[in-house]
């Protein structure tokens, strides 16, 4: 979309359509001739993978709804019915459930890519903030979807998470009753979650369209963080990026389907195969793995309200990341200290995940508290300071220079082997 359109339809039908509604032109300019930096690596394929995962969740979801019953007396059995009786229901149900996990794997990689290469910096702040909004919608969608099978973990997860709002001063109780439509998580809750779980993915599609629009306005970033300067720095989206994305997608799907077919329950909790019982809380309740780091932050703070604030804050802080990072240099490749901090943050986030999976007892509490403090310190103290103090490495003068220098490095090393 940046620059002049090169679409020149030879097919008369396409030309006829294009003169009346330039949709073919939009598609051509966005997905065929669209110029992308020539040095994109595989970390840049996850956006495409996310698109496919979103479509996959929507298609399998619509199919599941054809057999699912959103009622407290029937929901659990109807999911069993899908697994046992519906033709291919077993695969479709696993595809959707495991798909949610792989959707989150892809989005975490995509976000980490953005943090490593400084993709959030000017002029891509809005692109980044739309991404954070997408992540929040995904979390809400996944949470409500998990309630639908009405297992023990569904029920108690829903109860604990909705109860977070009871921490709100004065209105807490009223808000929670309003969310539930009753005095506890019950049928009214299940039905509204079902309605919203069907709605939110389509809201997600809308925000993703804005995300891609913003991307095509600013152009894609790249691993050097140096902006595209001339046509020499770019390649056409098709075939170059299309094929790279498709290859990465195939590898991702091989792993994903391996889980669907051979380890569908590996990422879940067996306790959810027990029907919801409002009178008995399971021994150990934990959210799905992709919420664990945030759950650990919630529990690290001994105060109810502050714990909730810290949990939401840990994601909301990403909204101001473009302004917290004071460095002019985008890519971690040229920022020696930031690069180490990035990896420390990854380790910290992983530790938070492990803490979230364990009961809040003994030294797990201490570890969780240290990791939480470090998490916030990274964004609020270290990032602003490092940007000012660090001396970055010299940047290549252009993307093509960087590519040529890299190839020149490789050549002599390759020769002795022959």
């Amino acid at each position: 979309m940046s620059g002049h359109s090169t679409y020149n339809p030879t097919n008369p039908v396409m030309k006829w359509v294009d003169d009346r509604l330039p949709l073919p032109r939009l598609m051509y300019d966005s997905f065929v001739s669209y110029p992308v930096p020539r040095n994109l690596n595989y970390w840049y394929t996850f956006g495409g993978i996310l698109m496919i995962m979103m479509v996959s969740q929507i298609i399998t979801g619509i199919v599941l709804v054809m057999h699912y019953t959103p009622h407290v007396d029937m929901a659990f059995d109807s999911v069993e019915h899908i697994r046992r009786n519906v033709n291919f229901g077993n695969v479709l149900q696993k595809w959707h459930a495991v798909g949610a996990s792989f959707f989150f794997i892809a989005v975490y990689i995509h976000i980490a890519r953005g943090m490593y290469y400084g993709s959030y910096k000017a002029p891509r702040e809005i692109l980044w903030m739309l991404g954070v909004a997408i992540f929040l919608i995904m979390m809400a969608t996944g949470f409500m979807g998990y309630v639908l099978p009405w297992g023990q973990m569904s029920f108690w997860g829903a109860k604990v998470i909705t109860n977070l709002f009871s921490a709100v001063p004065f209105f807490g109780e009223a808000i929670v009753t309003w969310l539930w439509g009753g005095f506890s998580v019950d049928n009214a809750t299940l039905q509204r979650f079902f309605s919203l779980h069907y709605l939110l993915p389509f809201v997600l599609v809308g925000v993703v369209i804005l995300h891609v629009w913003a991307l095509h306005v600013t152009g894609q970033g790249n691993p050097t963080g140096v902006e595209v300067k001339s046509g020499q720095d770019t390649l056409a989206f098709t075939p170059f990026a299309t094929v790279k994305d498709a290859f990465a997608l195939s590898v991702f799907f091989i792993v994903f389907t391996a889980f669907v077919f051979f380890a569908p329950d590996y990422l879940g909790h067996s306790i959810n195969y027990e029907e919801a019982n409002p009178l008995v809380t399971p021994e150990h309740i934990v959210p799905e793995w992709y919420y664990l780091p945030f759950y650990a932050i919630l529990r690290a703070v001994p105060d109810k309200l502050l714990g909730v604030v810290a949990m939401f804050g840990s994601i909301l802080v990403w909204f101001i990341l473009p302004w917290l990072d004071t460095s002019k240099v985008r890519s971690a490749t040229y920022r020696p200290i930031f690069k180490q901090l990035f990896w420390l943050l990854m380790i910290d986030f992983f530790i938070l995940g492990v803490v979230g999976a364990n009961p809040p007892e003994g030294w797990w509490i201490t570890v969780g508290q240290i990791a939480t403090v470090y998490y916030f310190a990274h964004f609020l103290i270290l990032l602003p300071l490092v940007g000012l103090l660090e001396t970055p490495k010299p940047l290549p003068s252009s993307i093509s220079d960087a590519v040529l220098a890299k190839n020149a490095d490789k050549q002599p090393a390759a020769q002795p082997a022959e």
């Binding site: 108690w156 109860k159 604990v160 998470i161 109860n163 977070l164 009871s166 009753t177 309003w178 969310l179 539930w180 439509g181 009753g182 005095f183 506890s184 998580v185 019950d186 009214a188 509204r192 409002p278 009178l279 008995v280 809380t281 399971p282 021994e283 150990h284 309740i285 529990r299 001994p302 105060d303 109810k304 714990g307 009961p359 809040p360 007892e361």
Partner: protein
């Protein structure tokens, strides 16, 4: 359109403000039903009271009944448990308020304020942890009362919070004795 040289500014302003006002009132009138429909429906509110016979509960036993979708714990406390609850200094409690719907708001969390005077053996309370709503497990925790497995809250033998993230004592629902050993909750 020939009179357009002298537009009637007052008339236009009036129409502008009037349209805006009608629009704002209309939007608010639309928002109320859309938001309020999510509050508990009449049928949920109608399930408001149950009767429970306490006579089969032996000393040291608890039962759990379901009221408005939530568990209510009824415990026939032992003499030792009552004594322990009475021995506590109110100043040591994280939540010094009774949280009992049957006594005056803000009453002290003494043991007698958590039960009905003269029926101290029967403790009736919601089995809903005041932290995030899990069901606390009986005869567990460091205070001989209840322990919430979700995030580790300890309640004493009068259902008062003693340790952990829960901010308040377990609430005592509205209930009354219909006869010597029969109560109505709600």
């Amino acid at each position: 359109m020939s009179t357009a040289e002298a537009p009637d500014e007052d008339r236009r302003d009036f129409l502008y403000i009037a349209t805006g006002a009608v629009g704002a009132v209309g939007a608010a009138a639309l928002a109320i039903p859309l938001i309020d429909q999510m509050n508990p429906s009449a049928s949920v509110l109608a399930l408001a009271s149950i009767e429970v016979d306490l006579s089969p509960i032996e000393v040291g036993q608890s039962i759990t009944v379901k009221w408005r979708g939530n568990p209510v714990i009824i415990r026939h406390r032992t003499a030792k448990e009552i004594e322990e609850a009475k021995a506590v200094n109110i100043a040591d409690l994280p939540d010094p308020i009774a949280r009992n719907a049957n006594v005056a708001d803000g009453s002290e969390a003494t043991d007698v304020n958590r039960v009905v005077d003269g029926k101290e053996q029967y403790l009736v309370q919601m089995g809903v942890c005041t932290h995030l709503g899990c069901v606390p497990i009986g005869n567990e925790g460091e205070y001989d009362g209840w322990f919430c497995p979700c995030h580790g809250s300890h309640y004493d033998t009068a259902g008062r919070i003693r340790k952990g993230p829960a901010p308040e004592n377990l609430p005592v629902p509205e209930y009354k004795y219909l006869s010597d050993a029969k109560i109505q909750i709600g």
